[in-house]
Point group: C2
Chain length 141, copies 2
């Protein structure tokens, strides 16, 4: 159903507009009601993290302009930075061709990663050495 | 199990090294055996797409240096660009703090999106207008 919705839009011309509510209604949330969300730093273009939203988190993010995710471990909405102060201001949002991924450009306050590192992707793969190298130090405990 | 593995690594110092096989063994593949993979253009830093890998796709990607995904619609391995020529050369790979997302820097040949648009995130949300705007034209059919 929702896949078909996005397939019909593939040949839409540049600048074609659709009602936001209609597109959101057709987004592909998974069987847990979640959709993956990539947060990218709007200035440096660093990919900061990937997390998940349900419909309510998406609504709150658009409504407040602050990134709100669904925490799969805590089973509740999670306003990024609400406890740490490391908030993410939403600058822009886009959906992908299949309607099953959200990309957000954000203004990150402080560290995006809960370890205190600037971004979550700190395990660098070194295939030739068959090793993984940690990039950056965690915050002092 | 794998979450605990990554939690134990949170305070690892910069430059700490681990065997690749051990880290891969502990990655969090979901109940379908898949892990989300973000492909980012190594030059422009544009987020091109998000797709999925199983263990075999990850192994083939690291072994061949070309991005190989698991196609959830076709239920088979999918070497990106094998039919379109729009291949992705792997430049670097990293894992996130929880071991449940992979980020790849790639060199993209041609368009990343199957519609012919340079990247998949071509539905721009315009919250104030309550609309979504298509960015870019599809390839002529």
């Amino acid at each position: 159903m929702s896949k078909a919705f996005f397939q019909r839009l593939e040949n839409s011309a540049h600048d074609h507009r659709l009602p936001l509510a209609q597109v959101v209604d057709n987004l592909c949330f998974n069987e847990q009601g979640l959709i993956p969300v990539i947060a990218q730093d709007c200035s440096s273009k660093t990919v900061l993290m990937q997390a998940w939203m349900n419909r309510e988190a998406l609504h709150k993010t658009l409504h407040t302009g602050r990134m709100v995710y669904w925490s799969r471990s805590r089973h509740r909405l999670w306003e990024k930075g609400a406890s740490s102060g490391h908030r993410q201001k939403l600058i822009s949002m886009s959906f992908d061709c299949d309607g099953d991924v959200i990309l957000c450009q954000v203004e990150q306050q402080g560290a995006a990663c809960h370890t205190g590192r600037p971004a979550c992707f700190y395990f660098a793969v070194e295939p030739e050495q068959q090793q993984v190298r940690v990039i950056g130090d965690a915050n002092p405990p």
